[in-house]
Each structure stands twice: as structure tokens, then as C-alpha cells.
């Protein structure tokens, strides 16, 4: 979908993109505020994510990065704010959105196989009651192959290494065939080989015109992996192309000041 913007994505390198104003907005967040108790975790976030970017969300621990993703996806209920996907409320556009949760959020000792977990990605389009059939199985096997895990399809998921589990989660999102992907720390606890494999898949998604939003921890790799970045620390510090805004000024604003505050306490 949204073919009109595809031509300026396919040929462009990550560092030279058309300006925001000329692009279709894939995700729009308005006035989003989330609090667990009295303390706000996210304060009045406005965010526009253009279509076809590979965006990192960076910020210190407790900055609300995962919370932001979870609130956009409706897993957490915000106090205020709204989310729209391609100009329509998120609730109506769920099928355009796929989610890769943190690996540690589920019990990997659950009695099921790698293929079974990937098949769960097809449940959304199936809807209630209907069971996955041959078509869904074929799509799931293809997704497993894309992440290099086809040989492990029948493996019990607790018998997989951390990196392999992460790939399974990625395959489960791929099988949804969405337009927008939200990923919560997909590089956490994976080795160099898996990290490269994952980032290559993400870059392929971008090439295909998809929008990929990643909660990311490793500042070193931001310029290499991503073309768009959002600095977050309870409030939105900055958002834009990596080449324009990934600088000391924004890094200090996001990480530095908070350090001083926490030391004084």
C-alpha cells in the first residue's frame, strides 16, 4: 500500500531522505501521556513517523521506550492521547501493524514448537475460531526460512538459544505481513551473527517500503543501522533523520542531564 512514496525509498541510501513534510506519515502520536502511579512515565508525546523509515528509539533506562511502543499498540492504557496509523485510529488499522515483544516477556518453557509460535502471527488475520490451514503453514515456513530457522521448525522452543528465540519472534511478526513493525529491543542478548542477520532483515523491510520502529540500546550502532531516530526521556527530546539530529547536543539532553539529577538525589 501507499505506493506513491515507494520510489524515493527504493533507491535512496539511509542517509539521504526526502524531508518529513513530503512524506506520508505512517504513525502519528498525539499528546500521549502514560503514568503507572502518580509519576508520569511518558509526558505529552507528539510523534510523527514517516513511512519507510528504520527508526531507533533511544533513551536511558526508565525513559519509557518500551512503554511508548506498548501504549501505541494499546497494550497499555494511556491517561491521555491518541494514536493513528495512516490517518485512521489504531484500532481500525491493527492488521497493518506487527509487534515483536521483548524476548524475556514470555515463558520459553511453554509446550510448543518454533513453527507453532511463528504460526501465531497468522492468528490475527484468521480472526476468531478459524484454525490455521495449509496456507498459513506455508507462510510460516517461509518466514522461518527468511530468519534462517527453517531447520529448527519442530524444535521445542526452550531448546533454542537466545538468538534463535529472537529470530522466531521476528519470524512471527514477518508472517503478519504488516506495513509497520514495532520491535522492543530485538538485539538484546544476541550474538554478533544474529545481530547482523536481524538488521539485514530490517533493512530489507525498509527496502520493501515498510516502516520499522526499534527500541534500541546501543548508541554506537545507531548511525550504521538506522536512518531515523527518536530521543526519549519521559518527554520526547528530538525526532528526525539520524544525520541531522544524532549529535552530542541531543545525546546530552537525553542522557546527560538525567544523570546529574539522579546523582543529586
Amino acid at each position: 500500500m501507499k505506493n506513491e512514496s515507494n520510489e524515493n525509498i527504493n533507491d535512496s541510501s539511509p542517509s539521504d531522505k526526502t524531508p518529513t513534510s513530503a512524506r506520508v506519515i505512517a504513525v502519528k502520536v498525539d499528546d500521549l501521556t502514560v503514568a503507572y502511579n502518580y509519576k508520569p512515565v511518558l509526558w505529552d508525546i507528539d510523534l510523527e513517523i514517516p513511512e519507510g523509515v528504520l527508526m531507533a528509539i533511544v533513551g536511558p533506562n526508565g525513559a519509557g521506550k518500551s512503554t511508548l511502543i506498548k501504549s501505541i499498540l494499546g497494550i497499555l492504557k494511556p491517561i491521555a492521547g491518541s494514536v493513528s496509523i495512516y490517518d485512521k485510529p489504531y484500532e481500525k488499522q491493527r492488521q497493518l501493524v506487527a509487534y515483536v515483544p521483548q524476548k524475556g516477556s514470555v515463558d520459553w518453557d511453554f509446550p510448543t514448537t518454533a513453527l507453532d509460535v511463528v504460526m501465531m502471527g497468522t492468528y490475527g488475520s484468521l480472526g476468531w475460531i478459524k484454525r490455521p490451514g495449509q496456507k498459513e503453514k506455508k507462510a510460516s515456513l517461509e518466514a522461518l526460512e527468511k530468519v534462517g530457522m527453517l531447520a529448527f521448525k519442530g524444535r521445542q522452543i526452550s531448546q533454542l538459544s537466545g538468538g534463535q528465540q529472537q529470530r522466531i519472534f521476528l519470524a512471527r511478526a514477518l508472517v503478519q505481513n504488516a506495513s509497520i513493525y514495532f520491535m522492543d529491543e530485538p538485539f538484546q542478548g544476541v550474538d554478533a551473527t544474529t545481530e547482523i542477520a536481524i538488521i539485514n532483515i530490517l533493512k530489507e523491510l525498509r527496502k520493501a517500503g515498510k516502516t520499522v520502529i526499534v527500541v534500541h540500546h546501543d548508541l554506537q550502532t545507531v548511525p550504521e543501522y538506522f536512518d531515523w531516530v527518536t530521543f526519549l526521556n519521559v518527554k520526547k527530546i528530538a525526532t528526525g533523520p539520524v544525520k541531522d539530529i544524532f549529535n552530542d547536543d541531543n545525546l546530552t539532553k537525553t542522557y546527560g542531564i538525567n544523570y546529574k539529577v539522579s546523582i543529586q538525589e
Binding site: L73, G74, S105, D107, F110, P111, T112, Y123, W128, R131
Partner: protein
């Protein structure tokens, strides 16, 4: 009464047949639903619900004055559900963790229930006796209509489970993700919980408030040991539960003064013990055997690698060396050497050993082979 006599009685004696059928169905449905509770890490939920049902039984009696089991069970159902939703409420609305919420509701409701029971027992009414059977259960009071009720609920539960199998499975594995796919997780959750409450309430008369949670957990815990597939686990848990019911009833019927509920729970416990020790993949016994075998293999490999290292220094790989050379080496024992001989990797000649051609090749490929097996 011996076992053949008992089997004959099951088919001829009306009461025994009713009780056996009842406990078997109860075991099957609780085992099935227990799998869901165990996988959701809500093992204690069953305990809380069964304890929360007690005041409902007492209040139902106080209001109606009837000891009809269906009337009392409706009371149990209502207070069990109230307890369950309070637990959910506490967890979502306060900072308290679910174990605290479960413990709190369990003891508060049970305490209140016991208070009402003592109050009822003090009443100058001959009718009051017997309510305390709900504490530990009394399978002997099961009548045909009770068994029918159990069968209907079990059938309903089976239909719902098969219909919403996919939804149950994904919710159990990853609730957040399920939400993002557009499923109403609250609905699925309430469906599962309602059936757990129903199964527990049905079991109160047979197994009792105090031991009911074992019926939910034991078959599921045992079943988990034998399989890595959810459907097989649920099926096995139902089988284990049903057999616990049947065996438990048989044992308690063949002895005097053995109440059925506790015996059923103990039989279920035996299933758990047996599964923990003897199941092939997760069982303690085979784990230990595998552990020892792996160590032995490793010793063997280390010795072989060491021999390969020495043999490599000679042009003729089968050049004999003295056994003394090996004594310094950690992995070496007489038995490992003998095993290498048995495998035709090594030839012994007095105090000298030499690698065979197969042995040399096996040693050379040891590590490359392992690394390909790994990934």
C-alpha cells in the same frame, strides 16, 4: 475386598458406579483446565477459588435452609466468582502482586466461611449437620444427578476449549501479543477463569475445599513432564486426572475408613512423583543418566584427543606408545581405554597402545563434528 471383586462391584453396584464415574469425570475436567492454570502461572488460583467458595455454601444454606447439593453449589459458584474477580481487581487496581492477592482472598473468604460454619453448627436445628463435609469432601454423597451435572459441564468445557483452542493457546503463551492482533484478551481470560471456577465448584462435594487445588495442579504438573505439545499435555492431564479419580475411589472403597477425596489427591500425587522421576525428557532419573553418559563421552573424547595429539607427532600414526604417557592426563581411566579398544579406535599390546586408522580419523573429526551438531 480384593481387586476382581471391586471391578465386579463397579459394574453392578449402583453407588460405587456413580462415585467412580463422578470422580473420573471430575479428574478429567480439572486436569484439563488445570493445564491452563499451570501454564499461566496461576497455580494458586484454584486454591484461592475453592477456599473462596466456602462462605457461599454456608450462606446458601442459611438462606434456603436446604442441604441439596445443587443449591449449595450455586452459592459456592457465586462466592467463588466474587473471590476470583476481587483477586483480579486487587491485582489490576493496586500495587499488590498476584500471590499476595491470592493469599489475601483465600484466607479472608475461608476465615469467613469457617465463622459461618461454626455459627450454623451452634443452631438448635438437627438439619445443620453435614455441611462440614465440604471441607474435605465426601464422595459417598454423590448421586446420579451430580454426575450428570459434572458430565454436562465437562462437555461444555470441551466444546468451548475446542472452539477457542487457538485463542487459549496464544493467550497462554503471549497475552500482550494477543492483544495487538486484535483479540479481546479479557473475554478469553474470563472464559478460561469461569470454567476453572465451575470445575472447582463441582469438585467441592467430592474432594473438598482444602484439597481441591491439588486436583487442578497435580495432573497438569505430571502431564507437563511427558510432552512438549500443549494438546498432548491437556489430553494427558485429563487422563491422569480421570485415573486418579478411579484409582482413588477404588482404594478408598476397598478399605474401611479411608475418605475418598484425600486418597484421590494422594493417587494424583503418585502420578506427579512418578512423572518427575521417570519421564524420558524432563525426568530426574533420565536427566541424571544423560548427565553421567555425557561426562563419560567427554572423558572418552578427551583421552582420544590426547592420544591423537601424541600419535600425530609420528609419521606412522599407529606407532605404539606406552600407557604411562596417559597417566598424567585428566580424562584417562582404565575403563575409558577399554572402551576405546571396544570401539576399535585403539589397540593394546602389553603396556603399549596405538591408535588404529579409524581411531585416528575419529579423533581428527571430533571437534568439527561437535561444532556442526551445535548450530
Amino acid at each position: 475386598m480384593d481387586i476382581t471383586e471391586y471391578i465386579k462391584l463397579v459394574f453392578t453396584d449402583y453407588t460405587l458406579r456413580t462415585i467412580t464415574l463422578g470422580t473420573a469425570i471430575l479428574g478429567a475436567v480439572t486436569g484439563m483446565l488445570g493445564s491452563f492454570a499451570v501454564l499461566r502461572k496461576q497455580s494458586l488460583l484454584g486454591d484461592a477459588i475453592s477456599h473462596a467458595a466456602l462462605p457461599g455454601i454456608a450462606i446458601a444454606f442459611l438462606i434456603t435452609g436446604s442441604k441439596d447439593s445443587n443449591t449449595l453449589l450455586i452459592g459456592a459458584l457465586i462466592s467463588g466468582l466474587i473471590g476470583t474477580f476481587w483477586i483480579r481487581g486487587i491485582v489490576t487496581k493496586t500495587h499488590l502482586k498476584s500471590d499476595t492477592a491470592l493469599g489475601l482472598i483465600l484466607s479472608l473468604f475461608f476465615g469467613f466461611g469457617m465463622l459461618l460454619l461454626t455459627f450454623i453448627q451452634k443452631q438448635p436445628d438437627a438439619n445443620q449437620a453435614g455441611l462440614d463435609k465440604y471441607l474435605f469432601g465426601q464422595a459417598a454423597t454423590l448421586v446420579e444427578s451430580d454426575v450428570w451435572l459434572m458430565a454436562i459441564v465437562t462437555g461444555l468445557c470441551l466444546i468451548v476449549m475446542l472452539t477457542f483452542w487457538k485463542e487459549f493457546k496464544i493467550l497462554l503463551f503471549d497475552a500482550d501479543y494477543t492483544k495487538t492482533l486484535g483479540f479481546n484478551t479479557r473475554f478469553i481470560d474470563i472464559l478460561i477463569t469461569t470454567f476453572i471456577v465451575l470445575a472447582i465448584v463441582l469438585g467441592l462435594q467430592t474432594v473438598g475445599v482444602v484439597l481441591m487445588s491439588a486436583m487442578l495442579l497435580a495432573p497438569a504438573a505430571a502431564a507437563r513432564q511427558w510432552t512438549n505439545s500443549l494438546s498432548t499435555m491437556v489430553f494427558l492431564a485429563a487422563i491422569f486426572g480421570a485415573f486418579s479419580g478411579v484409582f482413588g475411589t477404588a482404594i478408598s472403597a476397598s478399605q474401611d475408613n479411608l475418605s475418598t477425596g484425600p486418597v484421590i489427591v494422594l493417587v494424583a500425587g503418585v502420578f506427579v512423583m512418578f512423572s518427575f522421576i521417570f519421564s524420558p525428557n524432563r525426568g530426574l532419573l533420565f536427566k541424571q543418566i544423560r548427565f553421567i553418559k555425557n561426562r563419560r563421552d567427554l572423558e572418552l573424547h578427551k583421552t582420544l584427543a590426547f592420544m591423537h595429539h601424541i600419535a600425530e607427532t609420528h609419521e606412522d600414526i599407529s606407532h605404539p606408545h606406552t600407557i604411562k604417557l596417559l597417566n598424567n592426563f585428566q580424562g584417562y581411566t582404565r575403563s575409558t581405554l577399554q572402551k576405546l579398544v571396544d570401539k576399535d579406535y585403539v589397540q593394546l599390546d602389553g603396556n603399549m597402545w596405538s591408535l588404529t586408522k579409524t581411531g585416528f580419523e575419529a579423533a581428527a573429526n571430533l571437534y568439527t563434528k561437535q561444532s556442526t551438531e551445535d548450530e
